[in-house]
């Protein structure tokens, strides 16, 4: 079981969260067809740290950006997404 430190709710079991996708798979609306195909379908898929979009579905329901190691499941960052105040 992974423990995810939600910035709003504190450390919670990962079953409270829904995994959405890796951050490299988020499609901006104003993109070319070639870029859209690449972003939709191709993944870096590293064995190592990866930035991912999760949602605290059974908690505060906030979208969160996790930095997680795909081999050890170590989580080094959990931040609200989009970052507050930047619009990004």
């Amino acid at each position: 079981m992974m423990l995810i430190a939600c910035p709003h709710c504190g450390p919670r079991a990962h079953v409270e969260f829904a995994y959405e996708r890796t951050m490299d798979a988020i499609l901006p609306l104003d993109t070319t067809p070639e870029d859209a195909a690449r972003i939709l379908y191709q993944r870096e898929n590293p064995r190592g740290f990866s930035d991912e979009l999760w949602r605290h579905t059974h908690g505060c329901r906030a979208w969160l950006r996790l930095t997680r190691h795909t081999g050890t499941h170590e989580i080094t960052a959990v931040v609200p997404w989009p970052a507050v105040g930047t619009g990004a």
């Binding site: 079981m1 992974m2 990962h14 079953v15 995994y19 996708r21 890796t22 798979a25 070639e34 195909a37 690449r38 939709l40 379908y41 191709q42 993944r43 870096e44 898929n45 590293p46 064995r47 990866s50 991912e52 997680r68 795909t70 081999g71 050890t72 499941h73």
Partner: protein, 418 residues
């Protein structure tokens, strides 16, 4: 290589089983081969076997970072079936089933192929309609399929919980020719057949990079046991395809996810064949040793850790208890995890890479074991002739960009849902 037969068995029995030959040669790498296959799992070894046997390519090496069959070939739930609906999949998996049916005679090796039937349960009218549609598509493609009503299912598996309040069993789809095979024996059988035809099987030999010519063409591989030159390189490393492809700067339509599998203590025979739960994700069969071999969903998030998490263990066991409460008192013997190449449409890739001299066999999601013979057959055909085999023309790498997806489950580009 001595052929296995009743006579060789008698001879070795009378000589105290001291004279059996080694099943395959544990080779050291030579400097160069016509073809190097990266990955000594079922698919890689089958590819080497068919390259040597069907195409006369004898200068072949299979390089494996660990030991042969130590990856997903040894971690699956051994189910074979060809109950696919879509064009592009149907012919391929049926070709695989036909190869399974002749495999033991072809390899002269007992792979314990057992066509004990695969039963997919349905629990709603809509699901029955979907199975009717799938079964009809299968029969149109020459594959066996039967739609069973509740009584038909009861005749096959009277021990199921038919009146479960939440997911009552309303019927099922049955493929009598489906079943199971002994996964390790498949690996060893292909290794023996390939080794016997001159293929070098090189273990503890991890690929760390690729050699490229001035024109960019792949000319060999760098490994932990030295440099090996190759005319062509085939990659069959499902689970780690992205990592190997990254060595030549390729990004694949693949995510790596962990799939868990389980086996119970050995029981007297209780299950006639393979049974799958239609309202959750649970599939189970009983090995000849008596263990209930079962599995369910992938863990849901990208993972290269060959072990799974507890919530999925609970989920899988709940699925099992929902359809067959009788297994509730069987004790779990072991559970383990394997890393799956999950593609964006749930279907595999057998294609030339966009780098000359490199060929990809990847993206088997969690259906790679049943595909082993046809995967090897079609990959060997592609490497030897530079043309896709007629049953594998749709497994192109560029199908995602062109929109020719083969999405059996209709989930879209969300690999953790396939």
């Amino acid at each position: 290589m001595t052929r296995f037969s009743v006579f060789s068995l008698a001879k070795n029995a009378l000589s105290g089983h001291r004279l059996w030959e080694r099943t395959w040669r544990d080779a050291a790498p030579r400097d160069a081969y016509d073809v190097v296959i990266v990955g000594g799992g079922g698919h890689g070894l089958a590819t080497a076997y068919y390259l040597a046997k069907e195409h006369g390519v004898r200068s072949v090496a299979v390089v494996e970072k660990g030991w042969i069959g130590g990856g997903n070939a040894g971690r699956n739930t051994t189910i074979i079936r060809s109950n696919y609906e879509l064009e592009g999949n149907a012919a391929f998996y049926e070709w695989s089933m036909k190869l399974w049916e002749g495999l033991e005679q072809d390899l002269n090796y007992n792979a314990m192929v057992s066509q004990r039937g695969v039963l997919n349960l349905c629990h709603s009218d809509a699901q029955r309609d979907a199975y009717a549609r799938r079964g009809n598509a299968m029969r149109m493609n020459g594959v066996d399929a039967e739609l069973l009503d509740k009584e038909g299912v009861r005749r096959l598996a009277p021990f199921l919980d038919f009146d479960q309040a939440r997911f009552p069993i309303q019927g099922g789809m049955y493929q009598p020719r489906g079943g199971t095979a002994r996964h390790d024996a498949v690996v060893w059988g292909y290794a023996r057949g390939a080794s016997d035809r001159g293929v070098d099987i090189i273990q503890n030999c991890e690929v760390t990079g690729f050699l490229r010519g001035a024109d960019g063409r792949i000319t060999g591989v760098e490994t932990t046991r030295g440099v090996i030159a190759a005319g062509r390189v085939g990659v069959a490393v499902a689970g780690n395809s992205s990592r190997v492809a990254a060595m030549v700067g390729l990004r694949l339509p693949i995510e790596s996810h962990v799939l868990q599998a389980f086996v119970s203590e050995a029981l007297k025979p209780v299950l006639p064949g393979v049974i799958t739960f239609g309202a959750g994700h649970f599939y189970v069969s009983q090995s000849d040793k008596g263990g209930l071999v079962f599995g369910g969903d992938i863990d849901g998030y990208n993972s290269y850790a060959s072990r799974g998490n507890l919530p999925v263990v609970e989920d899988v066991c709940e699925g099992g208890m929902a359809i067959m409460p009788m297994i509730g008192r069987a004790r779990l013997l072991r559970s383990w995890g394997g890393i799956c190449d999950m593609t964006m449409d749930g279907s595999p890739i057998i294609d030339r890479a966009p780098v000359d001299g490199l060929y990809l066999n990847a993206g088997w999601c969690y259906g790679g074991f049943k595909a082993t013979p046809a995967s090897g057959w079609c990959f060997a055909h592609l490497i030897a002739t530079d043309q896709p085999h007629e049953t594998a023309t749709r497994y192109r790498l560029d199908r995602f960009a062109t929109g020719h997806l083969i999405d059996e489950k209709g989930q879209g580009a969300q690999p953790n849902l396939h």
